[in-house]
Every structure is written in structure tokens, then in C-alpha cells.
């Protein structure tokens, strides 16, 4: 049984504030690192295997946590913070979490969400997604797939808007990531039941430094996306 929550959260039309984040694409495009669909595919693949895997693993772990009487949100929150060294990325993750929370509270009201918010009113996006998928009865793998897909679909859509890339070609580039996506989901789902300190933590050095540069540039020139 597929989780409707996972489907809803991964839908570009879900009103959770995702469209104002480019996931580093705006900065990468400004630097000329992304100029066309091939660069974008390579960027997305790197993003998926790093930030995407971290998010997917924490979303999967959140599904497991949501089913426990004491979810231990504070520990997951702290471990995810420690895996997100760029302050700008933590801000972006929490901004998206809080934005999605607004819609989630109306659609999937639950004491599980209340407990998560009691730990932080601005939950990380991955934890919010995992909590909601868990409330909906979805599996860790479904939450991981949702997060991993969002880690590439959001930035891809930003690239279409910023660079005027052919949306059909960009869609094909996302679909071409299928093997990497499946691998990330499998790895995340497998990690879901581990103690939080053992969850994966792959770094994305250029994404991290670009996230800080994005904020920096926003003060001097124009940036159309929050991140």
C-alpha cells in the first residue's frame, strides 16, 4: 500500500514552500557550474548521493521514531544538525520543515507532530516528512524515496526556471537517476533502525560552501531563491 502522504509531500504542488528553494542551483548557475542539462544531471547525482542520502536516512529513521512511544526527536534533530555543517543549509532545511508543517498539521493532525514541534517549532524537513509518512502508515523506504526524490526534483525545477532549460529533457535527466535513487533509498531504509549516531553523513563540500556564498551574495546582488 503506497503512502498517500509520501505522494502528497513529493508533489510539486504541495503547498509546503519548496518552490522558493533551489538547493544550490541558483549559486551553481551563477558560477557557471550548471549551464545545461548534462551539468544539471551531474549536479543532481552528486546532490542525491550526499545531502539526499542524509535526508533520506533521517526521513526513514523518523518513520521508525514516529512509531515509538518516545520518539527521541531531540536526538535525531541534534544528529541531523551535526551532519549539516553549513548554517545556510540548516536554515533552509528548517524553513522547509516549518513551511511543510503548516500544511501537515491540517492534513495529518497527530500527537506525533505535536511531540516533534515540542522539541523544535522549526523541525528539519527530513524529520517532518518522515513523521508525516509514519503517521500515515507509510514505510521508512517510502519516506526515504520521498526525501531523495525531493532532493533532486526541487533543484531541477529551479534550474528550469532559472536557465530556461527544456523541461522535458530535465525530466528525463531526473528519471535517468533511477539507479542512484534506488541505491540511496535502499541504504537509507537499511539505516533507519540504527542508533541515530550511526546514520550516514556524507559531506557535499561545494554545496556547503555555495550555500554560504548564496547568502553572502544575496546581500549584495539579487538572489531569487532562499537557498
Amino acid at each position: 500500500m503506497a503512502s498517500l502522504a509520501a505522494l502528497t509531500l513529493a508533489d510539486a504542488r504541495f503547498p509546503g514552500g519548496g518552490h522558493v528553494h533551489s538547493g544550490g542551483v541558483e549559486e551553481a548557475a551563477a558560477r557557471g557550474l550548471i549551464t545545461g542539462v548534462p551539468d544539471l544531471g551531474s549536479f543532481l547525482s552528486g546532490r542525491l548521493r550526499t545531502t539526499g542520502l542524509v535526508g533520506a536516512a533521517f526521513a526513514a529513521a523518523a518513520v521508525v521514531a514516529a512509531a515509538r512511544p518516545d520518539a527521541g526527536w531531540a536526538v535525531l534533530d541534534g544528529e541531523l544538525d551535526a551532519r549539516t555543517p553549513a548554517a545556510a543549509q540548516r536554515d533552509a532545511s528548517r524553513a522547509q520543515g516549518r513551511a511543510a508543517l503548516r500544511a501537515a498539521r491540517l492534513s495529518w493532525p497527530s500527537p506525533v507532530l505535536d511531540a516533534l514541534c515540542a522539541v523544535t517549532p522549526r523541525p528539519h524537513h527530513a524529520l517532518l516528512v518522515g513523521a508525516v509518512v509514519g503517521i500515515d502508515g507509510g514505510s521508512p523506504a517510502e519516506a526515504a524515496r520521498c526525501l531523495a526524490y525531493l532532493a533532486v526534483s526541487g533543484p531541477a525545477s529551479a534550474a528550469v526556471r532559472l536557465l530556461g532549460l527544456d523541461p522535458l529533457a530535465v525530466n528525463a535527466a531526473i528519471v535517468a537517476l533511477r539507479p542512484a535513487l534506488d541505491a540511496v533509498v535502499a541504504q537509507a531504509a537499511q539505516a533507519a533502525a540504527l542508533s541515530p549516531d550511526r546514520l550516514p553523513a556524507p559531506g557535499a563540500p561545494v554545496l556547503d560552501l555555495m550555500a554560504q556564498a548564496h547568502v553572502h551574495h544575496h546581500r549584495e546582488q539579487v538572489r531569487l531563491f532562499v537557498s
Binding site: 544550490g24 551531474s42 546532490r47 544538525d81 551535526a82 545556510a88 549516531d197 560552501l209 550555500a211 547568502v215
Partner: protein, 259 residues
């Protein structure tokens, strides 16, 4: 080769003294002596490894214990070349454990690690910080010698504040997959990755960034500098820019002769 090296330093009066020092090949630890050393409040120990290590199959452990209030500087002498072993030797491994007491400080500054072709190297760095403990940890990774494809490297850095039990930084780095290196999200085609953790007093209120470097405050305490470059000199310069913007570190370098 299996090796376990160990250093224990403690504070005596205004100075830090080495209480225990165990080298084991291929890792040799050499305390700095002489007039300069005796004037400095910090103890400095050089890390020397024999030319052909780590080699596939090597398993090297370094345990460092810095007693309350002591200050230890560990520096590398030459770049490390990670080399493949023979046959089915398995990966080479270097595990460093830093236990930093209350109010103590450690600087762990090895020279760059060059991951040569067909090498398979694992690095782990675990740091446990007591109340008010300070840490400076540098890692420079080079994906292959010039014009050489990179071998495989997997590294883990985990820094924990034992006073609160809170993890400050957990980060893995991976080298050796050319498609990953090429990605604008990972190394953007650069060959060298430098990171430097600074848990050293005041952190910047917001991140700083140059073209290929950044300094960002961590969520708990501490900051992470990140730089990439086409060579180790460029990446090193990026790190230097980044940490120059760290208020806690800048205050130290102004008031004392930290290396």
C-alpha cells in the same frame, strides 16, 4: 602492519608536559624540545610516518589524551601517501581518537593525505571535548597525484561535546569516484578538499564565504571551514582565509604565538 600509538599530556603549572608517549612503526611521535619548546605553554609533537604508509592492510591507531587545561599541538611532517597493498590486503586504516579534558586544547594538523591510484584508505577521527575544551583539526585530501586518478578514500569525523552529550559535527568524505568529483555539488572537478574544524571560543554569528571556501558556525558550538582547490596550496590558502575570519581563533593568534 598493526600499530597503536599513544600520547598523554597534562598540565603542570603554566606548561604542558608529555606524560606518556608510545610510538609504533609506521607511526613515530617526536616531541619538540629545545628553547622554543620550553618557552611555549603548549607541547608540540611531530607525527612522522615511514615513507610507504599507509599501505593496504595497515591498521594504525593513534590515541591522544589531553588532560584538563593542557594544550597539545600535533603536526605532520610530510604529506601522507595512501598506497595500495598487495593482493587481498584490504583497505588501510588510520583511526585517531582525541580525548580533550575540561579547558584543554588540541590542534591536530597532519599534512595532506594523497590518495594514490588503486589505494583504498579509511580514516576516522573521533574527538571528545570536555567542558570548555578547544579543538582545531585540519584534513586536506588530495584525489591522486598530479594527473593520476584517485584511489578510494572514506573518512569519518565525529566531534562530540561530552559535557552536553551533543554531537557537534558528524561528517563523512568520500574520494575515488570520478562522477562524484565532477559533480557541482561535490568537488566541482577540483582535486583537493580541505576542511578544518575549529571549536575555539567565539564563533562567527553567520557564515563567511569566498569563491571556493567558506566558514560556517555549527549548530552547537564550533565552526567548520571548507575549501576546495585544484591543488593543495590553493585549498590551503582557502582554509587560511576561512579561519582568519573566525573570531575565537583570531583572538588567540593575536594574543599568543600559536602556530
Amino acid at each position: 602492519m598493526l600499530a597503536r600509538a599513544r600520547i598523554v599530556v597534562e598540565r603542570r603549572g603554566a606548561r604542558t608536559v608529555v606524560r606518556e608517549l608510545r610510538s609504533q612503526p609506521p607511526l613515530t611521535l617526536l616531541p619538540q624540545r629545545g628553547a622554543v619548546a620550553s618557552r611555549s605553554p603548549a607541547a608540540t609533537v611531530h607525527m612522522l610516518s615511514s615513507a610507504t604508509t599507509p599501505l593496504g592492510g595497515d591498521d594504525v591507531g593513534l590515541e591522544v589524551v589531553v588532560g584538563p587545561g593542557a594544550h597539545l599541538v600535533l603536526t605532520g611532517v610530510a604529506a601522507t601517501l595512501a598506497l595500495p597493498g598487495q593482493g587481498t590486503s584490504g583497505p588501510s586504516r588510520l583511526v585517531v581518537r582525541l580525548t580533550v579534558g575540561d579547558g584543554a586544547a588540541v590542534q591536530y594538523l597532519p599534512e595532506p593525505t594523497v590518495v594514490t591510484r588503486r589505494a583504498d584508505h579509511r580514516g576516522e577521527l573521533h574527538a571528545e571535548l570536555g567542558a570548555g575544551a578547544r579543538l582545531r583539526c585540519r584534513e586536506v585530501l588530495v584525489a591522486g597525484r598530479t594527473a593520476e586518478p584517485s584511489g578510494r578514500y572514506l573518512g569519518l569525523t565525529r566531534v562530540v561535546d561530552t559535557a552536553t552529550g551533543r554531537p557537534l559535527l558528524v561528517q563523512e568524505q568520500e574520494l575515488g569516484d570520478p562522477t562524484l568529483h565532477a559533480s557541482g555539488a561535490h568537488l566541482a572537478g577540483r582535486r583537493v578538499l580541505g576542511t578544518e574544524v575549529l571549536v575555539w571560543g567565539e564563533d562567527p554569528p553567520t557564515g563567511l564565504a569566498g569563491e571556493w571556501w567558506s566558514l560556517s558556525p555549527l549548530a552547537g558550538r564550533g565552526s567548520l571551514a571548507t575549501a576546495v582547490g585544484t591543488d593543495a596550496v590553493t585549498a590551503g590558502r582557502g582554509l587560511a582565509h576561512a579561519i582568519a575570519g573566525h573570531p575565537g581563533w583570531a583572538a588567540t593568534t593575536l594574543t599568543s604565538a600559536a602556530p
